[in-house]
């Protein structure tokens, strides 16, 4: 295997460094849009440092599964990130797996997080795990179908190949299959990253939380790893959405200038996407749990239409 060690190191560093910033940016903008002052953009970094320094309390009911979960979550998110094209079209680890492997890795992290929620014997954790697994089960077919649409167009499930194919001349975003698949993926993105109207990342109200409910018993270093892992997952999914549907600016050459331009484009694209998420979160109320399947089925229908339109408009 010929692996580019510098690319791997650079992308790892980028994932680690950029993910808290994205979380902070969304929180800050959301506050601004709601006429609050809000935390600083850098606050997540300080939070992570604080969590890492704190003592840990582990539930006396918890087993070894509780303790390996933070590592599994963090490492799967990071590994998934290394398979995703971020700055360059060719992801450093794209040989190890494409879209299906990425979904699988994120699924592995979720599997363990749900177990970690059940382990401390608290009803909150169980509730969170149950809801998370249910919603992800309904979100995943929509996500798969949307990915199939772009994968079939590109003739590959490899993310780098998909991105390269969408860079081809003749690509236009207003292509109906692309636009519909994007809409479906955007809804799935909201569900997968635990955002309104599906889950409220800011709540700790027992009956409404989903993601947060699973981490209630985590503290200190473990909490830091989980929070960071969740941020990386959010970054990966948003970068995926941005780069598949708006492949502009991805570095094609290995010159520093191309990299800098790619990084700039990535940040702009992420900022635009984050803005969209902020607007959706501010203008929508949280859906009742049993209304969420309707929204996710809508995403599935959109993805289905995307697929049908590749068939119709050829």
């Amino acid at each position: 295997m010929n692996l580019d060690l510098t690319a791997i190191l650079a992308q790892t560093a980028l994932l680690l460094a950029l993910s808290p910033l994205l979380t902070g940016l969304i929180r800050n903008w959301k506050a601004k849009l709601q006429n609050r002052r809000g935390p600083r953009v850098w606050q997540p970094y300080f939070d992570l440092a604080k969590f890492l320094r704190k003592d840990m309390v582990i539930s006396e009911h918890a087993s070894w599964v509780f303790s390996i979960t933070p590592y599994v979550l963090f490492l799967t998110a990071l590994s998934a990130g290394l398979m995703t094209p971020m700055v360059t079209a060719l992801a450093p680890m794209s040989l190890l797996g494409g879209a299906l492997a990425l979904i699988g890795l994120l699924g592995l992290g979720r599997f363990f997080l749900a177990l970690g929620g059940l382990d401390p014997a608290s009803a909150f954790g169980g509730m969170g795990s149950s809801r998370e697994m249910t919603l992800s089960a309904i979100a995943e077919p929509a996500m798969m179908l949307a990915i199939f649409t772009v994968a079939i167009a590109a003739g590959s499930t490899n993310l780098s190949q998909i991105v390269l194919a969408s860079q081809m001349p003749g690509w236009k975003f207003l292509d109906p299959s692309h636009a519909l698949a994007f809409a479906a993926m955007f809804i799935v993105l909201l569900a997968e990253t635990g955002r309104l109207p599906i889950d409220n990342p800011a709540t700790h109200l027992e009956l409404t939380m989903i993601h947060e409910a699973m981490l209630l018993e985590y503290s200190g270093r473990y909490l830091a790893l989980i929070e960071w892992g969740a941020s990386i997952k959010q970054l990966v999914l948003m970068a995926l959405l941005a780069n598949i549907f708006f492949p502009a600016g991805l570095a094609a050459h290995t010159t520093p200038a191309a990299f800098a331009l790619g990084l700039l484009f990535l940040i702009v694209k992420l900022a635009v996407l984050a803005g969209a998420v902020v607007v959706v979160e501010t203008t929508n109320a949280k859906l009742r749990l049993f209304r969420v399947p309707d929204l996710l089925s809508a995403a599935f229908i959109l993805a289905m239409l995307a697929l049908v339109s590749t068939f119709l408009f050829r």
Partner: protein, 680 residues
């Protein structure tokens, strides 16, 4: 001494026979019977595994071996292991080996209670019958071993026949097994009509010589017959009834091997005998697979009986196998043999994967049953601390069956996805939409399976014990752990080194589609698995593991840099100011799957019955009784009306059975007359 694989195979068959006879001979001395019969089974399975691997690596069909001289004309008792049979021989031997070792410990729980010698004898007989089934080279021996398999499995399912539940399950299995045998016999008769010979060699692509109507009839008969055995929805009803009541080592064998006999039969008939398939065969198989996969996992989610839950997952996995096979049939129809080979490999790969992780999970469930004496998950919990090894093995099985990387379930589902995705380009008709839609349903199945195994593992092994027996549970003995460890190892190896297995499968695809897949899907010295071309997609599970291992220093380094002074202590879980959490406050298995029950309530039609006794307000109940029940739609809509119909018709027919000898003589005379007229 130079051991030939065919000698080894005969040795293994004799070994099973000796094990069976020994079990019966020593049945008065249960310790000896246990050690002898399961020991013989383990040894024979090991020899069988070796033989099967040698046959597979040799690549061509072995020589014909006549086991016994023909006692009756036509009936030849000869075997000839070809690559397809040898591959299934690997499955039965691998599972037989692990299960025999496991059984030595597991059967101890029957000491003084049940006759262990009989259990060991039938266990050996079942392994013997299935081994014969996979290597039989003519219709007669195939049907004889098919029937032997069904009968021995019936005896094993009914082993604990003191329970009425077990007897009912046994009878249901018996009836279903004979309906399937009937269908298969009819199907083979149609094939025989065209070939005029009972040998499998003369049946190769015989379908091409048959009239279209007869060929389709044979297809339907085989699909029904093998489908009942494999547990395709809606023919699956015996599975969730028979699996839980059988001893756990037998459940694993039922799920890992017996239902695979159906898959073997389907592959043998559809790919070897029937010739180029028409379009609707592939469509039927792919649809049946998709429906089985989704419904199997949905019903599994509703279960809180650990072994019933696993039985429903067998239906799901059979569905996934059929998706690969159905896609392969469609590709054969459209003239894409390479893609057909890919679909076939996806199906075969999932077959061995399912055998290994489901065998593992059933053994885990058996260990839990052994320790807690209950199959009800609502009475378990906290077992990860009390049975750490079993918990770890079960967790590996759970991750594997949920199709999560880097284990084997992920690899075979990845191959299935690739086959389905590449199928989109094989046809211009609207049919092509079927492939990605099946893929989306496969994704739904995968995540629902993950949800189900979060439930199965989380409720069983995590949190606080929910009952006294669960709190007193202890780890099982070394032989049971060794059995589980073997299949855990198989799951990991099959997950990390897929190209090696596919290379082993080359003779099978060569035999059935005329193409080899191994060199086409292996990149970077076999470390990377590609979907026919590197451009279409690659994965490397071993690479993922290495990558994660290389990234591990990051979280550990963070700990060293920031958290050197941080202390870790144990404390109670946050209980909202109550005085301590009790197990009753934990999430239950029923509660865990409630959102799914609500979302799919049109399918489940859940019934619930709540009775409250209260003094002044219904919110402060003194006594609460809650009952919730989900009945399968097929039982409700298909099997119950069918049963009522059969009973009603039989009641009418009973009038013929008047008890008068004169009437009976008249019947005999009338029948004779009719036959004579018919013959003339």
């Amino acid at each position: 001494m130079n051991l030939q694989p065919d000698t080894l195979l005969v040795l293994a068959l004799c070994g099973y026979g000796i094990g069976a006879v020994g079990g019966l001979l020593f049945m008065r001395r249960e310790k000896l019977a246990n050690a002898f019969s399961f020991g013989a089974a383990a040894l024979s399975a090991l020899i069988g595994l070796l033989a099967a691997l040698l046959f597979l690596s040799a690549g061509a069909a072995g020589p014909q071996i006549t086991l016994l001289p023909p006692l009756v004309p036509y009936i030849q008792l000869s075997i000839r292991p070809d690559p397809l049979g040898a591959f299934f021989l690997v499955i039965v031997s691998l599972l037989g080996l692990a299960l025999s070792i496991y059984s030595i410990g597991y059967a101890k729980s029957y000491f003084g209670r049940k006759n262990v010698g009989v259990l060991g004898a039938f266990f050996n007989a079942l392994l013997l019958a299935t081994t014969l089934l996979f290597v039989a080279d003519n219709i007669w021996l195939f049907l004889i071993s098919w029937e032997l398999t069904a009968l021995t499995a019936y005896c094993l399912v009914s082993f604990e026949h003191e329970q009425p539940e077990t007897r009912d399950a046994g009878v249901l299995y018996f009836i279903m097994a004979h309906i399937d045998a009937g269908c298969i016999i009819l199907g083979f008769l149609l094939l025989y009509q065209a070939s005029g010979d009972y040998n499998f060699a003369s049946l190769h692509h015989i379908g091409a010589k048959m009239a279209a109507g007869k060929r389709d009839a044979a297809f339907i008969l085989f699909l029904l017959g093998f489908g009942i055995k494999a547990g395709i929805v809606p023919l699956h009803i015996w599975l969730p009834v028979a699996h839980p009541v059988a001893p756990s080592n037998v459940s694993a064998l039922l799920s890992g091997v017996i239902i695979k006999c159906g898959i073997y039969g389907l592959i043998r008939v559809l790919f070897d005998f029937m010739g180029p398939p028409p379009l609707w065969w592939g469509v039927t198989v792919l649809t049946a697979g998709t429906v089985s996969a989704v419904l199997g996992v949905l019903y599994a989610l509703m279960e809180h009986d650990l072994k019933r839950l696993l039985a429903y997952h067998s239906i799901e996995n059979i569905g996934i196998i059929l998706m690969g096979l159905g896609a392969a049939l469609l590709f054969l129809h459209s003239g894409h043999p390479l893609l057909a080979a890919l679909g076939l490999v996806a199906g075969l790969y999932h077959t061995i994967n399912h055998a290994s992780f489901k065998g593992l999970l059933f053994m885990g469930a058996g260990s839990v049953l052994h320790a807690t004496h209950t199959r009800n998950m609502e009475e378990m919990g906290g077992l990860a601390k009390r049975m750490p090894d079993t918990a770890m093995f079960f967790l590996v099985g759970a991750v594997a069956i949920s199709a999560l990387p880097p284990l084997n379930g992920f690899v075979s589902e990845w191959l299935t996805y690739q086959a389905l995705l590449q199928g989109f380009g094989t046809t211009e008709s609207l049919m092509r939409l079927m492939f990605p839609l099946s893929g989306a349903m496969l994704a739904l199945t995968g995540t629902l399976a993950a949800a189900c195994f979060v439930k199965a593992f989380g409720i069983t092994f995590l949190a606080q014990p929910r009952s006294e027996p669960a709190a007193r549970a202890h780890e099982v003995g070394p032989s049971m752990r060794l059995g589980m460890a073997l299949l855990t190892l198989a799951c990991v190896a099959l997950g990390l080194f897929p190209t090696q297995l596919i290379r082993l499968l080359d003779p099978v695809t060569q035999q059935l589609t005329g193409l080899e897949l191994g060199p086409r899907v292996s990149l970077n010295n076999g470390l990377v698995l590609s979907a026919l071309s590197g451009k279409a997609g690659t994965i490397s599970t071993v690479g993922m593991v290495l990558m994660a291992a290389c990234l591990l220093p990051i979280p550990l380094g963070l700990w060293l840099v920031f958290g050197r002074k941080a202390k870790t202590r144990r404390g109670p879980t946050w209980d909202c100011g109550q005085r301590g959490l009790t197990p009753q406050m934990e999430y239950t298995a029923t509660g865990f799957s409630k959102p799914i029950r609500m979302i799919f309530k049109a399918l489940f039609r859940p019934r619930r019955d709540v009775q409250r006794e209260y003094d002044f307000s219904p919110h402060f109940a003194r006594k609460l009784r809650f009952e919730s029940h989900v009945e399968e739609v097929f039982v409700r809509r298909l099997y119950r009306p069918l049963r009522i119909l059969i009973l009603r018709v039989s009641r009418r027919i009973r009038a013929l059975q008047a008890g008068s000898i004169h009437a009976y003589l008249l019947y005999i005379f009338a029948t004779l007359l009719l036959l004579l007229i018919f013959a003339l």
